[in-house]
């Protein structure tokens, strides 16, 4: 990991630690918790889409699998939420393996549609397997996590719990990117054929990162369900997969920092946009379209680049002026 990343990570950690001390309102804390939970998924998506170049339009399904697994185990079977969480991660990862193995042989549009269909199928299963999932009405009464006798029920403690996990995953992902495996993943995005000819087992790596991102989705689902304490299929529709994709695209796909930033923007902004409630779908579409056309590098990097260009341009102009004057 480079020094730049280290400083940025330290700054982020500091920000995360201090934030609840400044803003203690449970309403805001709740939003920041969702930010953290969604960030887990978008970090995984960023690795998959931005770094490895494989699209997924079905990640809401892994989120849902995690949520339902953890929720069902801890209510119907009375197991500890911790066991639910582990099961959620493994089931989501297992499903990612089963679907990823054939799907990742596909490219581009085919992969997009296959993952979209997969997401929709899982959504239908949530709705129709009533005896297990409670069907469209969902079910509630899901317990919160607790460590010994200390319950993580309060927004304050849960915030630190979730963000502890997020920062850990984030650090791990940054490590991953700047390593042998990370280079292999990026080489697949660059040119799959060339990567193979350099000894990179591309299908193996694609599957691994898909499973990893699926597992992160499962983890996020578990964290979600023990926070909201209620689950129903609506949360995991295809539209949510697209919202996740928008988060990644807005932040900038080719940079893992973009995942966290984009998620922050699209989690926090809608709370301010409540005045525009009716048109949020319109806004999502416009933002996504605008970003892809005008700032394909994402908002963060895009704005940064434009500023930089502007500064350089101004410097060039000044140089020219100086030259003129000296003449």
């Amino acid at each position: 990991m480079g020094k730049k990343n280290l400083y940025a990570l330290a700054a982020l950690t500091g920000f995360i630690v201090v934030l609840p001390l400044v803003i203690g309102n449970p309403y805001y804390l709740g939003i920041f918790i969702f930010w953290g939970i969604y960030s887990l998924i978008t970090i995984g998506l960023s690795l998959l889409i931005g770094y490895t170049g494989q699209i997924s339009l079905g990640h809401a399904a892994f989120f849902g699998i995690g949520a339902y697994t953890s929720g069902i185990l801890s209510t119907r079977f009375g197991l500890s939420p911790w066991i639910g969480m582990i099961a959620a991660i493994f089931l989501a990862a297992g499903l990612a393996f089963v679907i990823g193995a054939p799907a990742l042989k596909l490219k581009g549009h085919y992969l997009a549609m296959a993952t979209l269909a997969f997401g929709e199928i899982i959504y239908i299963v949530f709705n129709q397997w009533i005896s297990l999932t409670g069907g469209p009405s969902g079910f509630g009464g899901i317990p919160a996590f607790s460590i010994g006798n200390f319950s993580l029920e309060s927004d304050f403690s849960y915030y630190y719990f979730v963000w502890g996990i997020v920062l850990f995953v984030f650090l791990a992902s940054i490590n991953l990117i700047h390593s042998r495996v990370g280079r292999a993943l990026r080489s697949i995005h660059g040119s799959e054929v060339a990567a193979r000819c350099m000894g990179v087992n591309t299908s193996g790596y694609k599957l691994k990162i898909f499973v990893f991102s699926g597992a992160l989705g499962g983890l996020a689902g578990s964290l979600y369900v023990h926070f909201v304490t209620f689950v129903s299929p609506g949360t995991f529709s295809v539209m949510f997969s697209i919202v996740l994709l928008t988060m990644v695209a807005v932040g900038g796909m080719t940079n893992i920092w973009g995942a966290i930033t984009g998620t922050a923007i699209l989690t926090i902004l809608p709370e301010y946009l409540r005045a525009f409630q009716d048109y949020d779908i319109l806004i999502y579409g416009a933002v996504l379209l605008g970003i892809m056309i005008f700032l394909p590098e994402g908002l963060v990097l895009g704005v940064f680049n434009i500023m930089r260009k502007k500064i350089i341009l101004r410097e060039v102009e000044e140089e020219k002026l100086k030259l003129k004057k000296s003449r």
Binding site: N175, S179, R180, G190, M198, G199
Partner: protein, 261 residues
């Protein structure tokens, strides 16, 4: 001497169109061997079959006495065959240094776990990869460009990165697909020099090239391909005097020596 690479009766068809037919040849260790032939003769197809991108319709390939025609690309690379591409296939999303570091993939082991947790083994290996990549960048003369992205480099420099990347796999055989295409005379000489230096490292080179000066100067053996069949094989002089070859190339300027501007 045992051949390094042995190809026997290779055939490849694409949807009924025969691209290669009955191609057989060998590559011995530490040699520069060139494949020449007019456009569409099937030269690159041979490369793509050797490196496992295509599977042959018929025929067998041995590398160091091991059948490799059923293996997938990355396994072939791990056994010691590396290559470059005619239409440069460089990783534009990575720095020059990282591009070369990728080449170290076959002989390194760090997996997901050790990469995520930066284990000691991973740290050591990363150092090894770094120094090997730097060594190769110096070898091709691009060490000062290591932290740039390839898109900001010239075409020739991108070619050199590809060669460095291919060398990083520690190959015993390297396939160079038109390394001089699009280069001017001076750059071509440099490439020729580089190819020699690679050979001096004990690596065999199989070369596809249109620049006949280059081919005749540096290669020890030449195969001539036309319409998917081998029409001649031998040292440069033998090939140049082969009637079939002359017939094939009749009218092709490139073949006539010293006519280049």
């Amino acid at each position: 001497m045992n051949p390094l690479l042995r190809i026997e009766d290779l055939r490849k068809e694409f949807g009924g169109i025969v691209a290669l037919e009955g191609v057989s040849f060998t590559v011995i260790p530490n040699i520069i061997k060139a494949i020449i032939g007019p456009n569409g003769a099937g030269k690159t197809t041979i490369f793509n079959i050797i490196s496992g991108i295509y599977s042959p319709s018929k025929g067998k390939i041995w590398f160091k006495e091991e059948r490799i025609d059923k293996l997938s690309s990355h396994l072939i690379a791990m056994r010691g065959i590396s290559r470059t591409f005619q239409n440069v296939q460089i990783f534009n999303n990575m720095t020059v240094l990282e591009n070369v570091m990728i080449g170290c993939h076959p002989w390194t082991r760090s997996g997901f776990f050790s990469c995520v947790f930066k284990t000691k083994g991973n740290y050591k290996e990363e150092k090894k990869i770094y120094s090997r990549a730097m060594e190769l960048l110096e070898f091709v003369g691009l060490a000062d460009k290591r932290s740039l992205f390839p898109s900001s480099l010239t075409f020739q420099q991108q070619r050199l990165i590809e060669i460095a990347r291919a060398l990083a796999t520690n190959p015993e055989l390297i396939l160079l697909d038109e390394p001089a295409a699009g280069l001017n005379a001076r750059e071509t000489i440099k490439i020729a020099e580089l190819i020699y230096r690679i050979k001096e490292e004990g690596i065999s080179i199989l070369l596809v090239e249109h620049d006949m000066d280059l081919v005749m100067d540096i290669s020890q053996e030449i195969i001539v391909l036309n319409s998917g069949r081998v029409i001649a094989e031998g040292n440069p002089r033998e090939v140049q005097n082969n009637e079939k070859v002359i017939a094939t190339y009749l009218g092709e300027k490139e073949f006539v020596k010293d006519k280049k501007p």
